[in-house]
């Protein structure tokens, strides 16, 4: 049996570039031998003898490693590229797209102003929505039945009313409640009082509506992320005397982020386009602005294209952010961080260039 093990080890050592696999084989064969019966070790012996006969005793230590080629991958790439070119060609050559008009309006002052409003609404209600959502998620997961039910009711109400209705309600709050005041209930003492219509501008109504709605959804996303973190993490942190707030923010949340981020970016990208719902308040964000223009000029399609191109641009930038943020939070969750696309491209070109150089050399 020991001779079988050494034969296997030797032949493995010759074919492998490094001694490590050989050492491993030797180890496992020896370990098996301790428990295995005679028949088993005889089989191992014949297998070893067979492979030893098939392998000429050659030395490959000076050979270069060449990765496997994937010809079908190249065929697929070419087909997809052809499709893309065909679509691009039709877009470029069909005069009905009116690219001239698109170019003319793309950076027009009114369109850019609308774009800024869209970004403003997205950033403010996205940020506030997620902060409020985080608080709601913690409330929902707390031990207090009161906090749990408040959080649950919030999500229930805002997820069950159409956003459009919420917007209009906020904007028309002045109709329901003429004045908003802060004071002692059921008395005449008022510390502070304003006319509702002055407080709730178009902008305020839009931000309020989008934020509260976003908070209801993000609360669930964040709660899902927190639930995905192992209970043992909280226990270990509690056993170390780490305070509750720190446990949430330093131990649980960074781990929950891995589950939260993909859905959260979905939500934010949805929000970029979702802000267009504020057209009901005649709020001139990107989409409303474009509508106003094409109602005037009748150039419907090109102007819709202007808005679309801007939305594509925003989504693209967000996707890049998403990639790098996700990568940041995968620290420690994967054994080794995968390469970024840039690093991959660099590696692709350097290895392929090297292999092609070698091939060229071989051909000579």
């Amino acid at each position: 049996m020991s001779s079988a093990a050494t034969t296997v080890a030797q032949s493995a050592q010759q074919s492998a570039p490094e001694p490590a696999p050989g050492a491993f084989l030797e180890h496992s064969a020896a370990a098996e031998g301790r428990t295995a019966d005679a028949a088993h070790s005889a089989a191992a012996h014949s297998a070893a003898a067979h492979s030893a006969a098939a392998l000429p005793a050659a030395d490959y230590s000076g050979y270069k490693l060449v990765p496997a080629r994937q010809p079908w991958r190249w065929v697929g790439t070419v087909l997809v590229a052809l499709g893309v070119v065909a679509v691009a060609w039709s877009l470029a050559t069909n005069p009905r797209w009116e690219w001239g008009v698109v170019a003319q309006w793309f950076t027009a002052q009114s369109v850019v102003n609308g774009l800024v409003e869209t970004l403003k609404l997205t950033a403010i209600s996205g940020a506030l929505g997620f902060v409020l959502g985080f608080i709601l998620a913690l409330m929902r997961l707390s031990a207090s039945p009161l906090l749990v039910s408040v959080s649950w009711t919030f999500s229930w109400i805002f997820r069950s009313t159409p956003l459009l209705v919420q917007m209009l309600l906020w904007y028309n709050l002045g109709y329901l409640y003429e004045k908003i005041s802060l004071g002692l209930p059921f008395t005449d003492i008022r510390f502070f009082e304003v006319q509702t219509t002055t407080l709730i501008s178009q902008f305020a109504a839009a931000v309020l509506g989008l934020t509260l709605n976003q908070a209801a959804y993000s609360a669930e996303i964040i709660r899902g992320g927190i639930l995905s973190v192992d209970q043992g993490q909280l226990e270990a942190a509690a056993a170390l005397g780490i305070p509750a707030w720190r446990r949430s923010t330093r131990i649980v949340l960074p781990q929950a982020m891995r589950a939260i981020l993909p859905t959260a970016f979905n939500e934010i990208i949805g929000l970029v386009k979702g802000t267009s719902i504020v057209y009901v308040l005649a709020y001139s964000e990107l989409f409303y602005t474009v509508q106003v223009i094409y109602n005037r000029t009748q150039q419907v399609l090109p102007l819709l294209l202007v808005a679309t191109l801007w939305y594509v641009a925003i989504t693209s930038v967000l996707s890049v952010f998403q990639y790098y943020i996700e990568r940041h939070y995968s620290k420690g969750a994967v054994r080794n961080l995968p390469l970024t696309p840039l690093q991959k491209a660099r590696k692709f070109f350097s290895t392929h260039a090297a292999v092609n150089l070698d091939r060229a050399k071989d051909a000579r």
């Binding site: 226990e235 170390l240 005397g241 305070p243």
Partner: protein, 275 residues
């Protein structure tokens, strides 16, 4: 022996002055099932108590009541005379506020079966986290101390590795360093080697062996009988929520008095195991 009487472990070799654990008549139920049926145990400063017993006998639950991760339903636990998780007001024991419980826990280190290292923090960050936020130690100082501790468990050169880049045995050693970073009076180990491959068990047991002579009180739940015999001042046998028998390892392994103890040891100790 009766469960109300409090078994005391043999005095430790090193003269330690802190970490006197007194568990008195502790009861705990989960729903209708009583998991701890009045458990009493005394471990003197620097003592090493090893708790053994069949699965489900309440070993983990007992360990978790010692740092108040699990609330007791009856009885009490003191460490150096101070109640754990409660304070006396009149003739009642009032549960402490979270803040005070967290403070008490910094005196009681715990090492878990599945390590529970924070996977998004490096080994070093795992060890420095609690001293900085729970004991408000200076960061540089905590870092220096953490590196010493990592060195002590033989992992100084892996300080910047993330837990998933470490082997199971290395992870558990980081977890031990993390527990030591608070300079606890007591260390609780809940089956620290059960999640490890056999060849990794010893590197962890060696670290615990070294701790056993350092004067820290250790309470260890384990299925490693050979290790228990080596390291324990007292071996405590638990079954069905009660301490059935306890004694110095030589005696309890060679001549268990209770039939339940005898039948348990006859199952878990290999025939070749010599006392």
């Amino acid at each position: 022996m009766s469960t109300a009487e409090s078994p005391t472990t043999a005095p430790p070799a090193a003269a330690a002055t802190r970490g006197h654990v007194e568990i008195t008549n502790v009861r705990k139920s989960f729903g209708a099932t009583e998991v701890l049926k009045g458990v009493s145990l005394t471990v003197p400063p620097g003592g090493v108590a090893v708790i053994v017993g069949p699965s489900g006998s309440g070993k983990s639950t007992l360990l978790r009541t010692i740092n108040h991760l699990e609330k007791v339903d009856g009885g009490y636990i003191t460490i150096d005379g101070q109640l754990v998780g409660y304070q006396v007001r009149g003739n009642r024991l009032h549960e402490l506020r979270e803040k005070d419980i967290l403070k008490q826990r910094t005196d009681i280190g715990m090492v878990f079966q599945n390590f529970n290292l924070f996977p998004h923090l490096t080994a070093l960050e795992n060890v420095t986290e609690a001293p900085v936020v729970a004991l408000h130690r200076n960061k540089a100082e905590a870092r220096k101390r953490a590196l010493e501790l990592l060195d002590r468990v033989g992992l100084k050169d892996r300080a910047d590795a993330y837990p998933r880049q470490l082997s199971g045995g290395q992870q558990q050693r980081v977890a031990i360093a993390r527990a030591l970073a608070l300079d606890p009076k007591i260390l609780l180990f809940d089956e620290p080697t059960s999640a490890l491959d056999p060849e990794l068990v010893n590197e962890v047991l060696d670290v615990i062996r070294e701790l056993a002579t350092s004067g820290t009180t250790l309470i260890i739940v384990t299925h490693e009988m050979g290790f228990a015999r080596d390291v324990a001042d007292t071996v405590v046998f638990m079954d069905e929520g009660q301490i059935v028998e306890h004694g110095i390892p030589r005696e309890i392994f060679a001549n268990p008095r209770e039939p339940r103890t005898r039948s348990f040891f006859s199952k878990v100790i290999e025939p070749a195991f010599n006392i």
